[in-house]
């Protein structure tokens, strides 16, 4: 059960007129992950998500949610899903409580459960003190209410379409914190083009490019296996740094007394050996961390 896939997409195709947006998209989202769905604007993230919700007719491929096939126009699989669109629109004449009540009743929940869950969720998203109608809400407040309505029925999968894109830094942090807070009770799939958001909260990530998944996997694993062949050595004094730089032609000085070596493990051992033999004093030695950004840039360039 631990490694069950909550969502699998295989060979998904979609074209809008002449434009082929999705060309055989394959994606699998493991349960209890926080899954970042990354791609440039217009890459087809929203299209893919709408297809998962059965809101869009696809041209081929198969989507399964919790093992059940998704059919266009049908809502059966949506009972597993909570959905937050990129710009959520609510009935502005209602209050947050009234809106959640409408959602709960549409979901067939009983009155007591609706009351309890609404109160709990509104406090989670920080709207419990808000008594005004939705008409006066800011974008961030709407996003937060959007998360609350999506989580109302305790879905197995929470899908958020660009939840942070239109927000200021504080609003973004609020949303990310909420998403982190709910990962114990649901799987979170969110699309974004902001990589720092992914690095901040995601366990898994997929990169959508040219209508296909260019790269996907656990964030840790991707960073580890795609580690660039480089390491940094910082010396305690200038003399040692010069000494070391003279010995290795690939050493590139960056900051003061700091050298960056391009090369793998063997190169590092050679450098360490030289340092030991010459009794050079080092402050630190560090293997370079791959940032998702550099990883993605590399993939996109290919």
């Amino acid at each position: 059960m631990s490694e069950m896939e909550i969502l699998t997409i295989s060979n998904l195709q979609k074209r809008f007129g002449e434009k082929q947006v999705l060309r055989g998209l394959n994606l699998s989202v493991p349960e209890h992950s926080v899954f970042g769905f990354v791609g440039r604007n217009g890459a087809g993230k929203t299209t893919a998500m709408k297809a998962v919700l059965g809101l869009l007719r696809t041209d081929g491929g198969e989507i399964r949610v919790a093992g059940e096939k998704v059919l266009y126009g049908q809502t059966a699989t949506n009972r597993y899903i909570g959905y937050l669109p990129d710009v959520p629109e609510f009935y502005s004449f209602m209050t947050a409580h009234e809106y959640l009540k409408l959602c709960g009743e549409s979901l067939g929940m009983n009155r007591h459960a609706i009351d309890q869950r609404s109160t709990q969720l509104l406090s989670l998203v920080g709207l419990s003190a808000e008594k005004h109608r939705i008409k006066g809400y800011s974008r961030g407040m709407k996003q937060r209410l959007g998360i609350a309505q999506a989580l109302l029925a305790r879905p197995k999968l929470l899908i958020c379409d660009e939840p942070t894109s239109a927000l200021d830094p504080i609003g973004r942090k609020d949303i990310l914190d909420i998403l982190l807070a709910v990962k114990d009770e649901t799987t979170v799939l969110f699309s974004t083009h902001i990589l720092s958001d992914v690095e901040r909260i995601c366990t898994d990530v997929a990169l959508l490019h040219n209508g296909q998944i260019a790269m996907q996997g656990s964030v840790d694993l991707l960073k580890r296996t795609r580690r660039p062949e480089a390491f940094t050595v910082e010396m305690t004094d200038h003399h040692a740094a010069v000494h070391l730089a003279n010995a290795f032609c690939d050493a590139r000085p960056t900051e003061q007394d700091t050298l960056v070596f391009s090369g793998g493990e063997m190169q590092m051992f050679a450098v360490l050996d030289f340092i030991q033999r010459n009794k050079l004093s080092i402050r630190r030695i560090e293997r370079s961390e791959a940032s998702l950004e550099s990883l993605f840039m590399e993939v996109l360039k290919k």
């Binding site: 919700l53 959905y83 629109e89 609510f90 009935y91 004449f93 549409s106 067939g108």
Partner: protein, 256 residues
Amino acid sequence: MSAFTAFFKKEVLENLRNGKLIILGILSFALGIMNPAIAKLTPWLLDLLSEQLAGSGMIVTDVPVNALTAWTQFFKNIPIALIVFVFLYSSTLTGEYETGTLVLILTKGLSRYQVLLAKFGTMLILWSSAYWLCFGITYAYTAYFWDNSIAVGRFSAAIHWWLFGVFVVALMILFSTLSKQYSGVLLGTGGSVLALYLLGFLPKIANYTPTALMHSTALLAGAESADDYRKTIVVTALISIACICTSIPVFNKKQL
């Protein structure tokens, strides 16, 4: 069923809060008062103008006014109420398409046909309430001045006109599923009514067009009886049902 009730309650709350209910209420009330009032004031108005009219060669004699005059006013004014109603509610679905409010509710498991039926039900109730409120006020106020019974066909004529309104509501629902825009609903509904009205000039099918339900003069005076309109009523009811039945599959396949 609870999902349908929830959406229906939302529709009612929306009408209470966006002021449309108040507009309809005021309009019905005002028209209801105006119908007999205008009838009552006609002789006085003509008297006031008589000198001017005499100057242009027209002689004003005593104009007899009675309940029939008031009821004629009712059927002259009720189209205004229907037109206002069409303008107010043509956006009932297209407004939701534009803002995207339906998407969230539909992903909650509310079926599309429930949305459609809740909208239709709300509009039906609103049209009926507004219409019969106007009718009731006209009736009571006319009874205060004259004897209603000389307008023999007042009830059948009123039921016919109400049914015509129901037919227009069904058209609005159909065009709301066919079109994405407010203007599309207005044009579709208005265009259909106009087309039927023009078709009504052909003697062979005149009795089968829903627009024939708007003819009230002969009924009021008792020159025609309700039986003469049986075919029209059946045809109108059938077309209305067909409109709703067509709109459901259209709406089910609509890309939102």
